[in-house]
Symmetry: C2
Subunit: 208 residues, 2 copies
Amino acid sequence: MKVYEFKGFPNPARIRVALAEKGLFNETEFVHIDVPGGDHLKSEFLAKNPSGNVPVLELDDGTLISECSAITEYIDQIDGEPDLTGRTAQERAVIAMMQRKVEAGFLDAVAAFFHHATPGLGPNVEQYQNEDWGRNQLEKAVKTLHWMEEVLQNQDYIAGNSFSVADITALAGFFFAGFVDLDIPENCPNVAAYAERLKARPSVAQAA
Amino acid sequence: MKVYEFKGFPNPARIRVALAEKGLFNETEFVHIDVPGGDHLKSEFLAKNPSGNVPVLELDDGTLISECSAITEYIDQIDGEPDLTGRTAQERAVIAMMQRKVEAGFLDAVAAFFHHATPGLGPNVEQYQNEDWGRNQLEKAVKTLHWMEEVLQNQDYIAGNSFSVADITALAGFFFAGFVDLDIPENCPNVAAYAERLKARPSVAQAA
């Protein structure tokens, strides 16, 4: 397997951590795409992912998988342990739901703030910016952290008492939040402890 | 099972069609939520889905599943035929990828145009509007239709030659596009034929 990515960016980190959790990190080749230089917008990369973003997983038969939730689903299915996406229909649904809520409400919202309400990756890469939208999405991210605080009052991880892909998405959100100086609100101690718990996982050190 | 929804809205339609495809439509109770009246923003509904949107699936044990992709995943897993989310890891990844691309690039983009660049559901329901963002998302939707045109040159459905949840998401996008008078571009004949093929499915008539 090959992963086209930019090391250190939040979405590629999701794939690195998922691979490390599953013991597949050393079997994967990582291919550097110069995103700040705009290589993700060139035709060679757009042929791999018409959405023009990293990461992209390329299977040995040439099949290309983009969209992080699809890539982590694949990584989880090809090897058994530990389970990251759930085993029963109900577990799978709860994890998929929480993954999507954390993705839309936190990680993607922080990303929208970065790309729209800050210089982002610079004028050569940011083709459209809408500052008001970016600020609105920052509010959404903070609101999501407060919702996560409530969820984490009753459980250790965002989709229950086991680590899952929903936590990997949250971890990427915490990385991105740190990058844009968004602090975890002081009245969210469960979120703060959870973020530290995630960052301390061995997979995060291996993925770094 | 119960589904909290607003009949005729695009995202609830995804669940209705998935249930009909799986032969589960008549076993499901549908509970009307008055979204134009703002009932989805009241505490009673927010306790079921803190994201404040329909549909929400309630299982017989009280478990609440929101986010359409999680609900359709559940519906597909509880009954065998026809398969809507893929059987092998690779099939599952391709369908998940295409579902997410159609959701983000078409259905959600048309929804953003409706909620931001038109009166949407009116001033009592639309709490934040950003017209420029809405217009940007309309451009994204049109761009996605052109990408779909290329994909459909080589296959009958958006994730391959079998109907899948990715097509259910596209179907909801076509419904929403019709509602906001977004026509399929004339140079996208494959998309136009595909939309008609989807709308002609028996599940669509049952779900209506």
